[in-house]
Symmetry: none
């Protein structure tokens, strides 16, 4: 409820760790509380219920991607570079936070339908930015004007998502970031005029 108090972020971060280390279904509220160094009851001063913690985790962390992407769109002008930076950003953030990668790619997807829907609302914002990049790219003739926006977005996001999930499932053995140019090249080939 009080999202600016330090304890709020403290609990969100603890939740990421607890879920990553124990799995979604084994991340009991008491474990999150212990990880955060607060009492069980304290959780409920900052969150309505357990689902609220999980949505908050997603919203707080997803905002990193969204904010970075907004900055990228401001700084860069071509669709191609914007997409490259977007991929790099997406890969880098998750590469640098193993726990977060596990949580977003594997654990949070185990949530029930209700939670999934609320998570998708948050994701929508990120995808809207991606749509914007694609639309502007088409207007500027940088991208193939016969492209279907929705389908293109699904390809871009689906490819990125599948690449990361594969990497997480392989226990993050290889370097994800250096895949960026290859992924970018593949995607651009599909999108170019």
């Amino acid at each position: 409820m009080k999202r600016d108090k330090p304890k709020y972020k403290q609990i969100v971060d603890a939740a990421v760790i607890a879920i990553a280390e124990n799995g979604y279904h084994q991340a009991q509220v008491s474990k999150i509380a212990k990880e955060a160094g607060v009492a069980d009851g304290t959780i409920y001063l900052y969150f309505k219920n357990k689902e609220d913690i999980l949505v908050s985790v997603f919203r707080e962390k997803m905002s990193i991607f969204t904010q970075n992407l907004e900055t990228i769109i401001e700084k860069e002008t071509t669709a191609s570079v914007r997409l490259l930076k977007m991929i790099e950003n997406h890969f880098r953030v998750l590469h640098e936070d193993r726990h977060l990668a596990i949580v977003t790619q594997l654990e949070l997807r185990q949530s029930g339908k209700q939670l999934r829907l609320r998570i998708n609302e948050v994701l929508r914002e990120y995808l809207n930015l991606l749509d914007g990049i694609l639309k502007e790219g088409i207007e500027r003739k940088e991208l193939d004007e016969s492209l279907d926006i929705r389908l293109s977005r699904q390809m871009v996001f689906g490819t990125i998502d599948e690449t990361i999930t594969s990497w997480v499932m392989n226990e993050q053995k290889y370097d994800l970031i250096e895949l960026s140019p290859k992924v970018h090249r593949l995607i651009m080939k599909a999108l170019q005029p």
Copy 2:
């Protein structure tokens, strides 16, 4: 354990319906048993535990995709047509079985890490066939020889998967099958020399 007895398939089919109609977390063993028309205890004569039912659901249903894809590879010779037929097949099977679509795209993903790993083993077989198509296409110069197989596979599967999930989440409002040529065209652009 006895996978050929009719009751085995009966329970697997009941599980698909129970999960699709109630959601993963509300598909209790007793509901599956009732849907199958057997007693709760009977389930355990055919399956080791609940997870075993779910893995079996995935294996039995995934084999439809795999078998169809094997036939496609036999009949068709070019990578492009094979991929088109593969997309069409994938879309058609799920378009014709609403329950199965919901289960594979949404519900089964809510399972724990252990189950997901076992499901991925089953999926591997399908992806291996896809890898084969890509490899042969490259050898025959039909596809860009600089392609990274894993990355390409992730793009193809990621795009297909994301497209279907979007469709399911939109309550299957539009026609999935007629998206096939557009998805195929997009993918081929990325893969072509």
Copy 3:
């Protein structure tokens, strides 16, 4: 749900003992289950929830009073004797079951409003029989015809109830049954023409 199975009565009786010995708020479901010699979960095969156990306790036990009173009304013909037998019956049943007396007079009254209302529905049946005795007594000129039925019923039941509660609160030190004629005489004086 299955009220005729022996385990149903077993649990109801266990609940009376558990509540009498521990108090309403300390009679956890697990204590009732232990007292009944069944597992916690078994309770829920026979009762919808904890409230359902408590309503059942009251209904099952109250039916003793109601059935006895019906027999008394059949056998006896005058209002005076019927009331005497009713008082004797009420006192005797609770005198012979210390636990039940504690539960009905003290513990069950601690229940929430919802439960209280449901308990009152059960009690209504008993009070309706009492109303019948009073009405018939008035018609036969055995009782004062200027009596207000509701008020008279409240006096009769209020006096009986208060007498028993006092006895329970005094730790059942004196003999309740032998109070019957005195209570009867007092009540009859008020009701007689």
Copy 4:
């Protein structure tokens, strides 16, 4: 602990309102504090614990009945008139304070055994005055000399209490005060020589 400070009465009054409006089990300390316009912690400067608040509520409010009854005994001389005035007083006070009526007749009875015993101590004072009226009435031959004091008291109080509870449960739909003469007449018939 400081019962004369204004904040003490402020909290007691807030408790009556909070309990009447929310029910006994939903009248959390925090709600009482809010209703009283003080912080949760402040409650504990004036009361030992929650039970102490509730006993105080009963003691403070019961003193109204007791004081009025003492005045009545001083002013009136016959047992019959004293009882009539007592009934009228009891009915009037609760008729004029809906919240208090709900709290004393319904909500406060949901308290645990410990609290009920302490409440009964407070009630004893009132009942002692009633006993005095009855004893003096018998000595003066206004009442039947064969009466058992305790039993008579139980009848008088039981009838009054049951009448009020019925009225509260019927959502205070009819006029309670005008029942006084009828209740008085019924009781006097039982007590008269």
